[in-house]
């Protein structure tokens, strides 16, 4: 597991991080147009909607690897000892426009199955009790 900075939940992201601690993945959803969005925002980002009637909806945790890069020169101090490492973009089963980043724990560096299936996992961070989302190849 790569050491990550510990996120400090704020008002907007509180429900997201609380769900992660409960082993659930939630994504912000607009109650007006039903579109999912991530990262969360104060209003719906769909052009012409802009509704503030937003909630968080639980999703399956199943996803697909869109593509990836390998980081050799990382700006985040706590991660620099672990480079090089994979960073993939994962899209979720419910909406291929919703993306998450992942180090793909357990997948060898630069040996990533593009288009492959992944499952969300919930990892602790070094600095505290807050969990973060990761994805493992299935």
């Amino acid at each position: 597991m790569l050491a990550k900075q510990t996120p400090i939940p704020d008002e907007l992201t509180g429900p997201f991080y609380k769900a992660l601690n409960e082993g659930k993945l939630v994504v912000q959803s607009c109650n007006t147009c039903n579109k999912l969005q991530h990262p969360p925002a104060p209003v719906c980002k769909v052009e012409g909607c802009n509704s503030s009637d937003l909630t968080y909806r639980e999703v399956s945790g199943r996803g697909t690897i869109y593509n990836y890069g390998v980081v050799y020169d990382c700006p985040i101090r706590v991660l620099q000892e672990d480079q090089p490492f994979n960073v993939a973009v994962v899209t979720i089963e419910e909406d291929e426009e919703i993306q998450f980043y992942s180090h793909l724990p357990g997948t060898p560096v630069d040996d990533v199955p593009v288009g492959g299936a992944v499952q969300a996992v919930f990892e602790a961070t070094a600095g505290g009790d807050q969990k973060i989302i990761e994805w493992k190849v299935v």
Binding site: Q5, D10, L12, G14, G69, Y72, C74, V87, E97, Q99
Partner: protein, 440 residues
């Protein structure tokens, strides 16, 4: 003096607006560049403020008009994207007080306001219009073009400055801490360097079209060659070393598939241009370069980072807006100087323009043809950021100089350089200008 950001109405972000109402009525004449440096050495005479004044004076002299004829100033107040003054770090008051300071002691050191410029250039006695085009020289150019066209200013300085400090770009600050605010953490916890998003799009491009990173080599090598013919640029001034195919292919990775030479080197430098009306341009020293139109993109990524599809859709949309506003088509372009700040996205801009008929997925093959400045398909003749360092303005200077016939060893000879386009930065978002030797 209160200087505001340009209003949204200045930017042409939609299709269907027709030809720009000031097509051919605004012109660039004078160009001025400061020296370049890798990092600031802490002296007052080499601060970003000092460099800005130097470039402005050169641009005014180049235009042949008196400083008292300057009545407008448009600039981007930000002078970095990754070399931020560390919070709590002592401010060199000897440098601050070597100039006429504003209320912000970092003004002229790690940022640049219109007020600071005016306070430190007593020869600018007649500036009545000031405005910010925030984010990039490209945006400042669009704002200045619109302002001159609207009659808000007649002889306008357009300015962009960049500072750089000790230490590595993007390191420090929030990236050095053990925690991260929750919203920012959603995209930053995974430690992606600045070129990661572009690298990902390029990886998806290679997957989709069956291409590979090695195919970038001819383009990046040509860019360095063009940059070495840019005497105002960093590599020409400090490290006049050609880049070979072998150098490029052996370079270390930053965010694979982006390597060292796909990333532009942060430097200090400033540039200034003089924009004026077409009528007044006749009295300026240099041949006028008319602005046929401008276009802007304000598209945001749908999620964490733009996908390849989003990039291809938006660059094509931007190309359509560019052509509509300027009243031209792809065949009218003599050359293109689209942004290359990560080299791996230049082809998205080029394909979006359908430059020389290049469709999506074809640019890397196009790079293997003659893209030199002496050939039929000059591609990034400026050499861009890759060729001269991180400023995002070499492309604009080159457009002006090519059309004026003042590009020196970079002068395009394979075609007649009559119409060019420049702008950026990223494939999503950005501002673009079409330049012409004639007003119509």
């Amino acid at each position: 003096m209160v200087t505001e950001n340009a209003p949204d109405s200045f930017y042409r972000t939609k299709l269907g607006l027709g030809v720009w109402e000031h097509r051919g009525k605004v012109a660039a004449t004078g160009v001025g560049h400061s020296p370049t440096a890798r990092r600031w050495d802490g002296k007052p005479e080499t601060s970003v403020g000092a460099f800005a004044i130097d470039s402005i004076r050169k641009a005014i002299a180049d235009s042949g008009i008196d400083p008292s004829e300057i009545d407008g100033l448009v600039l981007d107040a930000s002078t970095t994207t990754g070399a931020h003054w560390e919070e709590g770090a002592p401010i060199p008051m000897d440098v601050v007080n070597a100039w006429n300071p504003t209320d912000d002691p970092l003004d002229g050191i790690a940022k640049l306001s219109a007020e600071w410029i005016i306070k430190n250039m007593p020869e600018l006695t007649n500036v009545k219009f000031t405005m910010y085009g925030p984010g990039c020289m490209s945006r400042a150019l669009v704002v200045a073009a619109q302002a001159v066209g609207d009659g808000l200013t007649n002889n306008c300085i357009v300015l962009k400055g960049w500072h750089n400090l000790e230490g590595r770009y993007y390191q420090g600050g929030a990236n050095a801490l053990d925690t991260r605010p929750g919203t920012a953490a959603l995209s930053t916890l995974w430690g992606t360097p600045a070129s990661y998003g572009t690298a990902l799009q390029f990886a998806a491009y290679c997957t989709k079209y069956g291409k590979n990173h090695d195919m970038m080599a001819p383009f990046v090598v040509q860019e360095r060659a063009n940059g070495l013919n840019f005497p105002e640029g960093f590599w020409a001034q400090h490290r006049p070393e050609p880049l070979t195919i072998e150098d490029y292919l052996a370079a270390r990775w930053i965010a694979k598939p982006a390597n060292l030479y796909d990333n532009d080197i942060p430097i200090m430098s400033t540039a200034a241009y003089i924009f004026t009306t077409a009528e007044r341009a006749a009295d300026h020293k240099q041949k006028p370069v008319y602005i046929l139109g401008h276009a802007s993109s304000r598209t945001n990524a749908k999620s964490l980072t733009p996908s390849l599809q989003e990039v291809e859709d938006d660059t094509y949309f931007t190309g359509q807006k560019i052509y509509e506003g300027a009243g031209i088509g792809p065949d009218d372009l003599s050359f293109e100087n689209m942004y290359d700040g990560f080299t791996l996205f230049h082809q998205f801009h080029l394909e979006g323009l359908r430059y020389r008929g290049v469709q999506n997925g074809e640019a890397l093959d196009f790079y293997a043809t003659d893209i030199s400045n002496s050939g039929p398909n000059p591609t990034s003749p400026s050499g861009g950021n890759a060729g001269s360092g991180r400023t995002r303005f070499w492309m604009h200077t080159d457009c002006i100089q090519q059309i004026q016939g003042r590009a020196g060893a970079r002068q395009i000879t394979g075609v007649k350089p009559e119409v060019g386009v420049s702008g950026g930065p990223m494939p999503l978002g950005g501002d673009f200008i079409v330049w012409s030797a004639t007003p119509n």
